[in-house]
Amino acid sequence: MDVNQYMGMFLEESREHLQALNRCLLDLENDPRNLPLLDEIFRSAHTIKGMSATMGFTAVAELTHEMENILDLLRKGQLPASNSILDILFKCVDTLEQLIEAIAGGNELNVDIKPLIKTLTLLATGQDASPAQSEPAAVTVAGTVEGSDLVLDDTEIKVIKAANNQGIRAFEVKVELRSGCLLKSARVYMVMNALDQLGDVIKTVPPAEELEKENFGLEFSAIILTDSDPDKISHAILSISEVDAAVATQINLPESPLSTADTPATAIALPTEVIVPEAGPNTAGAPMGEPTVATADKKPKGGQSVRVDIDKLDSLLNLVGELVINKTRLEQIGLSHKLTDLVETIEQMDRVTTDLQTVVMKVRMVPVGQVFNRFPRMVRDLSRDLHKEINLIIQGEETELDRTVIDEIGDPLVHLLRNAIDHGIESPQTRKSNGKNPVGEIRLIARHEGNNVIIMVEDDGGGIDADVIKKIAVEKGLITQAESDKMENAEAVRLVFVPGFSTAKVVSDVSGRGVGMDAVRTKIESLGGMVDVETKINEGSRFKIRLPLTLAIIQALLVNVDKEIYAIPLGSIDSTINISSGDIKTIQNQEVILLRGQIIPIVRLAKTLNICQACNDDQEELFVTIVHMGEQKAGVIVDNLIGQQEIVIKSLGKLLAGIKVIAGATILGNGQVALILDVGSLMQVKG
């Protein structure tokens, strides 16, 4: 079987299940007696085991198998869900993660799982004297056919028992192929197919992978659960060519100590509900290679869905973009030639394309929960390392964002959370002496706000001391002492985002804040968003990230400078005003205007973009577009305002990647290319 075509699916689903494992284990830590949770953990582990066995990743399968043993003991209440055991399980999940990532990277064998497996085996056997409970010492079933080396583990025994309870018998089917048989694996496949039609195959000897690789002589056997009689089974198999013999013998389970160990409830309810439907696909399904089957019953909720390659969605979005451009073009033709019929038709088309665009955008949306999911684990580990008690509260994880944004937002959030844990939340002792709850609280909140998504990281820790920040900023020469004296506290705290503020480690030790905050800001701004901070001493801080819903199609204001057309993203425009040239004052060689009591620096586009040096110097009336980036504002002087338009952002390509002031390009209705201004870097240039 060519497993490569399932590789992507395997990796993706494994990651999903690992995430589920992490989440459930965390919940279990808070609620150790929650049986449904354990069942879910078991199912996830089992699915990973089944998939990896099918794909031939034995290390993963082996580890999950050992994990299952422990989980089973937990489920039966024979092992308490203590912290030490959970730690081991967490370690297992981490190791599995490493294994899966190693597989994704193309080398499976780099991770050593032996020590962990040993711990698990010891745990399983050490806690429970009955050898029947642990895999390494499996029960040899009495009453098997002579000469058979049939060994059943406890899961299989339970399955058989559960089946027996429903009146279904288990048979061991021994098949002998004709000597000189050429395509043994093909024959095996046919035999398995035949058996599958009669019942559920739960085990083969040798295992399915070995059978597939033809690592056996001429004989192999399979255990099948069926209500057919043995003659029918052997007849069905003998009808396959090149099969010499097929003997079906019923398996009669001995009254093992296992049955006494099991409470009747688990013996009947669990195996039939949980194990039977999955055990089939995972062992017998192997030759057919259907890794998805096992997960089919894993997600009880949620509608039908289709997995689509993100590249396909990207090209779909591109095509819709093209459509929008052409629509705008038609609109212009209709208007300039005064063709009423055409204009009407285009209006209809406009509605359709708008809908289409919304739908495509929605398709690309993913809930932020995808990113948030990994944080509980991170917060838990980090707070343990730092001996702090922290409660992470996540809200609004169903809020959706464009896939491209989701992919990028993880790192900045990790940064903010780490900062909150490391520096924000005080130690339990300090908290107590300050009259606070010793358990700190971090809130991670996402919500919609107009065309934006807001993500907030709040902590109820010590807050940021503006005076300390000012002091450091002065020491580092970022601001002067005079500036520092005038500066308001809210503004001072924002200095943490200034590049150069946070490069040295010392800063984080003194102020307790600001490790790489400018990196956070740069990332967020590159996504077209912004980040701000509010803080109160001894009450905590709040970092607020504002992100656009999507990056691909935006509203923009088109402006004229000389003969060139530029687009300014509407999101960063405050207002447009008319001023007379006399309104412009000069402060320290910087042209400014006064707008509602605020001093706003002026950017002359014609100069900044090297169009002409003295274009509108003698012009009496000037158009100024007031733009903002974060709290900063600037007035951009343009020749003319053309109007607001929806534009599709196109990249300028590698060759022009480093260009400042230009964020990208777009194609106008007439096919001409217009450049999109990068408001952020425009502010840095100024006059």
Binding site: K650, G653, L655, L656, I659, K660, I667, G671, L675
Partner: protein, 154 residues
């Protein structure tokens, strides 16, 4: 029949004019040839990048090949064309004075570039091909475009 079958040691070359010289690039690197269209100037770009054009919905940078090769500038003419080339994964347009023909060149008739051929820096050259009594200057697009990338970064 025999004429259509290319031997291993033969190259198909797109021949174009810059000033009075004939230049050539491998046909495998050429995607298409366009008439001159509206070119949008990109501020702060290196001066040999004339601007960007719209090629069926994607935005492509356009290089003024004469400026890039430090050849004397000239006005655009009726025969001026934009040759769209793909080098590795970068697609760019190059402005040339005229596109002449597609011809087959035997690798044996290609000589390594001397330090300076007709004023063009040797690093931009792959060699000089002899075609009957004509000389074809073969350009190395990797350096012409690759160096361009570095220039922007610096």
């Amino acid at each position: 029949m025999a004429e259509n079958t290319l031997m291993n040691n033969e190259l198909q070359i797109v021949v174009f004019k810059l000033g009075r010289e004939d230049y050539g690039i491998s046909i495998l690197q050429v995607q298409e040839i366009k008439r001159l269209t509206d070119i949008t100037r990109v501020p702060h770009a290196p001066d040999y990048i004339t601007g960007v054009i719209n090629l069926r919905g994607s935005v492509l940078p356009v290089i003024d090949l004469k400026k890039r090769l430090d050849l004397p500038a000239g006005d655009y003419m009726d025969s001026t064309r934009i040759v769209i080339v793909k080098v590795e994964d970068i697609i760019v347009g190059m402005i040339v004075d005229a596109v002449l023909e597609v011809t087959t060149l035997n690798t044996d008739s290609i000589e390594p570039p001397q330090t300076v051929v007709s004023g063009v820096n040797a690093q931009y050259l792959d060699g000089v091909g002899k075609l009957d009594d004509r000389l074809l200057i073969l350009l190395n697009l990797e350096t012409i475009i690759g160096v361009a990338t570095e220039a922007v970064k610096a």
